[in-house]
């Protein structure tokens, strides 16, 4: 309860703070932040790691962006596109581009550049990698009828198309450069963003300086930024503690937050949010007895998520009890309804009794043993693994854990060589199309490690994907959630990760969101004295 009150107060303060705390942003200063991972290349269309976003995103703009002050990390806001319209049939999206935007080399950004960039993302030429190509399967073509207009023509209406354009990876590149060499941006940086690239010393840092000709007049507030590459979370905590860095954009553990608060008091501001990352239990439907939905339901009923949340949030980066959408976002199911699903009941004893009953009915003997495969990463795989095994023990299942080294893990899981295994999902934005894609039948989505085929579920997914009316879509998402987590119990959601960002109180203009890929353009950030 105390936790809830604390989070509520924090959230309320953050919500009020943005417009009410109208301190005038101060110009100047260099923002220093540690990044625990280095970018393998500079091309956002190819990479999927925050190790690219954190140091490189400030050099670019995207067509649209997520509102940097929106805590749910879902509200679209203009960026290079000033405004957009959608046709009545929902298949044509027309974007009006801003004029007078200059690349760092002085040339003007036009619709040609946007088209070339999106062609590279959606229809990459041979030999050019585009990791998120699959997300744009609905796009038929991209057109640039005039220099300030871009048109996307879709094959079918889509409820998530705008969200897919909010991807922080969709840097807008210069068309002329792409025409000459589509691989140029892997090793070079040249964009329209609020900061200009200064240097990247491998193993050490990336430095960017203020773009004086940035199209958003008056921004950025900072003189520059310095991203320092570290390789351990303790070094990062030490940097913040020693006031050698201002903020870390991924997240710290609860203990680190407590230590920082204890050491620096008011000099530290903590922003927290549920995180769009979650560990899920993948149940291999091809292995007996997990093809029996009673057994699967028993597995989820055994997990007392509410107690687990209270306890594990003290030692791990997990917290919220969630369904298929991050709590606090537009499509998330409110707790009252969520707690009706199997595994979410507040009465743990009743839940366990039901689990035992189902196991007995399915013919699973007391003390039945199976192996749970987990990934060799300490946080939060280890604590969740220990928790799950203990919960299953309490309904008479004797589970052994086999931990597989991180690099070898997915190779094993993809082969289907497991009974129950820990799966993992992280999104850059909370969007049902993205977050629920995993649960589609295995012939549609090979990354469905549960290896099941459920046409009813697929139909629900397609239906909500085509629905543009938010209220109607919510209803279908709830149905989908009920089927995948309760009726069929295809996958087991554990606990939603919890993002904890303790940062120097000098940092303003940055709002935490559920995604550690968002809000890294740094144009709204400023430092006080």
């Amino acid at each position: 309860m105390k936790q809830f009150v604390r989070v509520f107060v924090l959230a309320a303060c953050a919500a009020l703070a943005a417009p009410v705390l109208a301190q005038t942003p101060r110009h100047g200063g260099e923002l220093v932040f540690p990044v625990p991972s280095e970018p393998p290349s500079y091309d956002g269309h190819r990479e999927e790691t925050f190790g690219l976003i954190h140091p490189i995103a400030p050099f670019y703009n995207t067509l649209l962006r997520v509102d940097p002050f929106d805590k749910s990390g879902t509200k679209p806001a203009p960026s290079l596109a000033e405004s957009w319209t959608v046709s009545k049939d929902g298949k044509t999206y027309t974007f009006k581009l801003r004029r007078g935007v200059k690349f760092h080399d002085g040339s003007e950004m036009t619709s040609k550049d946007v088209k070339a960039s999106y062609d590279k993302i959606i229809f990459p030429p041979a030999g050019v990698g585009s990791t998120r190509k699959g997300q744009y399967a609905d796009v038929e073509k991209v057109e640039a009828p005039d220099s300030a207009t871009v048109v996307f023509r879709l094959k079918e209406p889509s409820g998530s198309f705008i969200a897919s354009l909010l991807s922080p990876y969709n840097f807008i590149y210069k068309a002329d450069i792409l025409a000459k060499d589509p691989h140029w941006y892997e090793k070079n940086i040249m964009g329209t963003g609020p900061f200009i690239f200064v240097e990247h010393v491998k193993g050490s840092h990336v430095v960017g300086k203020r773009n004086p000709n940035y199209w958003d007049k008056g921004k950025p507030y900072l003189d520059g930024f310095r991203a320092i590459f570290t390789n351990s979370s303790s070094a990062e905590v030490a940097a913040i503690r020693g006031e050698r860095a201002h903020i870390q954009f991924r997240g710290f553990s609860p203990k680190d937050r407590d230590n920082l608060k204890a050491a620096l008091g008011d000099k530290i501001t903590v922003q927290e949010s549920p995180w769009d990352c979650i560990l899920l239990g993948a149940i291999n439907h091809e292995k007996k007895p997990f093809d029996d939905k009673r057994v699967r339901r028993a597995l989820t009923l055994a997990l007392d998520r509410h107690t687990g949340s209270k306890a594990l949030s003290q030692i791990a980066i997990v917290k919220e009890v969630a369904g298929v959408q991050v709590p606090g976002t537009p499509f998330a199911t409110p707790p009252a309804e969520l707690n009706k699903l199997a595994g979410y009941w507040t009465d743990a004893a009743k839940s366990r009794a039901e689990a035992r009953r189902l196991l007995k009915e399915a013919g699973v003997p007391e003390g039945f043993s199976f192996t749970f495969k987990n990934r060799g990463i300490p946080m939060p795989y280890e604590p969740l693994g220990v928790w799950m095994i203990d919960q299953w023990r309490q309904v008479g299942l004797n589970v052994k854990q086999e931990v597989i080294e991180a690099a070898a893990y997915f190779g094993v899981i993809r082969k289907g060589d497991f009974e129950v295994a820990m799966d993992f999902q992280c999104g850059y934005i909370v969007e049902p199309d993205l977050d629920m894609y995993k649960f589609l039948s295995v012939d549609r989505n090979p990354a469905n490690y549960g290896r099941y085929k459920d046409p009813v579920l697929d139909a629900l997914y397609d239906k909500q994907s085509r629905t543009t009316d938010v209220a109607a879509r919510k209803k279908i998402v709830r149905e989908f959630e009920k089927r995948v987590l309760d009726e069929e119990a295809h996958y087991l959601m554990t606990l939603q990760w919890h993002r904890i960002i303790p940062h120097s109180s000098k940092v303003h203009g940055w709002t935490v969101t559920p995604s550690h890929y968002l809000n890294n353009t740094l144009d709204t950030v400023w430092l006080s004295q």
């Binding site: 209270k310 306890a311 030692i315 060799g376 604590p383 220990v386 203990d390 854990q401 086999e402 931990v403």
Partner: protein, 299 residues
């Protein structure tokens, strides 16, 4: 004068040396008190392992979130860990893991190593040279690096850890045993056995091996302590025995370090257990070495 107390003792013994096993034990305790302490620690550890099921107040796997991170108290003598598991119980059960891995790895490493060492010495010539080359290659890998690579190949878990720890011990044992075996090979009874037409395996196993028992035993005991330590190290970095098994090295991982300030009992007791266990094996092994091999005697 730096005389040998054993010899002096024997010279001045007024009563006849006690006969049988009991006599040997009492003599051992009297002459080598450190070794006796070591033996006592080992016995204590074995007793812990054997009676863990009876003595332990809780189930080592049982999570109790209401009691997580609680200090030593009447209910939990050594406190609880980050999941509310009783530390005392996990230490008692952890002795099983330590002994199992330690004994397994040391026996495996010592037997393979000695077999290779003796066979190599016996056959001599090019076979000897070839085997020595291979042993040299394995020897050039630092112990933990070889163990890490083996774990990467085989995977984690107690069984694989035993193999991973035994791997670097094989060449080390082979080298020591080979030098002893070389001198045994020249012994007349080996010649006699060969003349009698016995096959190679028989000569190696029946005639040579028993006569190099002393260095093998010494190596095996030395390895046991090392093996327990190595298992603790591997589990500590996450590549050994895995949760939720009770293992001392594993108990020192993660939350024990993170919460060391506020919950130091999580880090102190398992480390103490490891230290005392290995200490016992080392003390005993030292004294055993002194007692068995007169050439290696330092007193």
């Amino acid at each position: 004068m730096a005389a040998n107390p054993q010899t002096v003792d024997e010279l001045t013994r007024t009563s006849a040396p006690r006969a049988g096993w009991l006599g040997a034990v009492v003599d051992f305790v009297r002459c080598r008190p450190l070794g006796a302490i070591g033996a006592l620690l080992i016995l204590f550890m074995v007793a812990m392992a054997a009676t863990a099921g009876l003595l332990a107040p809780y189930n080592p796997l049982e999570n109790d979130y209401a009691a997580m991170l609680s200090a030593p108290s009447a209910e939990h003598w050594l406190g609880t860990d980050a999941y509310g598991r009783d530390v005392l119980t996990r230490i008692l059960y952890g002795s099983r893991t330590a002994l199992m891995v330690g004994l397994g790895a040391s026996l495996l490493g010592a037997s393979f190593g000695s077999l290779i060492g003796v066979a190599s010495a016996y056959f001599g010539g090019r076979i000897d040279l070839f085997v020595q080359r291979i042993m040299d290659v394995l020897f050039a890998f630092p112990v933990i690096i070889l163990a890490l690579v083996v774990v990467a190949v085989l995977g984690t878990g107690a069984g694989n850890v035993i193999l991973a720890i035994a791997a670097p011990m094989v060449p080390r044992c082979a080298r020591v045993v080979r030098s002893s075996a070389l001198s045994v090979r020249e012994m007349p009874y080996v010649d006699a056995a060969r003349a009698s037409g016995f096959g190679h395996p028989r000569i190696i196993l029946r005639h040579m091996l028993p006569n190099v028992m002393a260095p093998i035993l010494i190596m095996a005991t030395a390895f046991l302590g090392e093996a327990i330590l190595l298992e603790a190290s591997l589990s500590f970095i996450g590549l050994g025995v895995q949760e939720p098994t009770a293992a001392w090295g594993l108990m020192l991982r993660g939350a024990a370090v993170e919460f060391a300030e506020t919950a130091p009992w999580m880090a102190i007791f398992p480390g103490l257990a490891i230290s005392l266990g290995v200490f016992g094996f080392n003390l005993f092994g030292d004294s055993l070495r002194d007692a068995l091999d007169p050439r290696l005697r330092t007193q």
